[in-house]
Amino acid sequence: MEIIAQRPKALTKLGFTYCPGCLHGVAHRLIAEAVDEMELNNVMCGVAPVGCSVFAYKFFDFDMAEAAHGRAPAVATGMKRARPDMHVFTYQGDGDLAAIGTAEIVHAANRGEHISVFFVNNAIYGMTGGQMAPTTLPEMKTTTSPYGRKTDDIGFPIRMSELISTLVAPYYIERVSLLSPAEIIKAKKAVAKAIRYNKERRGFTFVELISTCPTNWGIDPIKSRDWARENMLPFFKIQCFRDKGEGVE
């Protein structure tokens, strides 16, 4: 019997503990598939964040570090500098990367650290129960913006891919989405490219994955994808911002 699909080797046997309809499992799988396909299982390592994916260190079947909130790019910097023979990635949510960890991500990118960053943006804090994120959309209601995010009071959502694109050093920056099978296939290519560039020591790579949070948005999983398409994608445009390997500057 020919096996045409199976759990990637780069994932442990532990079942994901995410909410029904959550796309973290998809994002994890894309990274794991890329690691398997490039046969990097013995030299891969990663950094898990604080947020819903805090337990990512249990799910990837290679060495993992769990970082303090927002500090993953600094931890990954230490890891990559200590073990240049290994490939290092961080996996971070929007609160982790775009709020408490803004300094760490900007400066790791600016140094052109040889790491891959996977940034899952679903416009809300999931683990702590649906608070406003730096990427929460204008007028979007959360538990800490119960009357909607007021831009004259708390400002606009931060576009991290665009912000990082202002820096000279980063090698590859792309925003993709996980809202349909076709989009997931495109996201897979971006994830794999980021890891391949990392393996080839090209420089800092950054992939933003537009995702959903059915639980805290209070929208069922299928409709939440429509909601993200209608509300997030106009603000967070799907785009390759830079790919020095293919001449996109």
Binding site: V47, F62, A65, R71, A76, D85, H107
Partner: protein
Amino acid sequence: MAKILMKGNEAVAEAAIRAGCRLYFAYPITPQSELIEYMAKTMPKVKGTFIQAESEVAAINMVYGASGCGKRVMTSSSSPGISLKMEGISYIAGAQLPAVIVNVQRGGPGLGDIQPAQGDYFQATKGGGHGDYRLIVLAPSTVQEFADMASEAFDLADKYRNPVLILSDGMLGQMMEPVEFKPAKTDEEIEELGKQHLSWCICPNEDGAAHHHHEINSLEIDPTVLEKHVNELYKKYAIIEQNEIRYEEFNVCDDNEVLCVAWGTASRIVKSAINELKAEGKSVGLIRPINVWPYPYAQVANAIGKKVKKVYVFELNTGQMLEDVKIAVCGKVPVDFWGKVGGIVFTPAEIKAKLETCF
């Protein structure tokens, strides 16, 4: 090897490199800037990593990452910067990682000033960061000792998989004294040192070896698992308390009428005063904790001779180690304290005047 005249900040940096430190992450702050500058200059020459981090917070988290890879790594700062590092230090202690942190203390609280002080004793020895943990804390009193403590700190960190803090101050950092260095570890020796951590650290899977999944982590969401983890840490701390008490006795004898307790820079000033009193026929002893955690409680108590009327604590703060001395003395004799703050260092004459009131 001949002695070299060096600032404490530079001497501890050179000694750390000689001890096999090849990764250093830090942020500039007075009065420790010569340390980061020495590392910037020297690390490239030994093919090491030097990064001037974007913040103290980032620097300590770089240390967490590199230490998680089983490599000898160091950061340094001065008081306000050490406060910022406390988050990372707690994580490093929780994840049981070996790392060395140098604090060249200055006056506080807040921005304080940039003069020598000993106001971070509580922070260093009683916590500082969140949660139940202990740092091994070494307190040098000379530039030579500051330098020697670099290699001792790395050895202790490796032995116990625990962060080690060298608690110096702006006086020791800025002052020049002759230093003799230990021979530098060779690349082969450094590689060999790293091997002791391969069973737990982030490292490649060797071809043919069983696939490993190492986690560098301080998170235990199950309370019963966290309880077990914290209790295991405390078993380790109990072993450190048994093995790593270090102190110096100076002029401690049966004739002592006063026993002084002082650490770091303060202790050398007390020594000068004791020598002057000795010439006048007045017997004063000094016990100097070299490691301030674990603390030499029993040794302080045992040093109280039969004629001792008073234990006198001198610190460059408002009385922090004083609390440990009171625990040690346990009411046997009166304990008095005098300190100076604001970054002002007391003189031997001032200490002598205080001690003369005891006779």
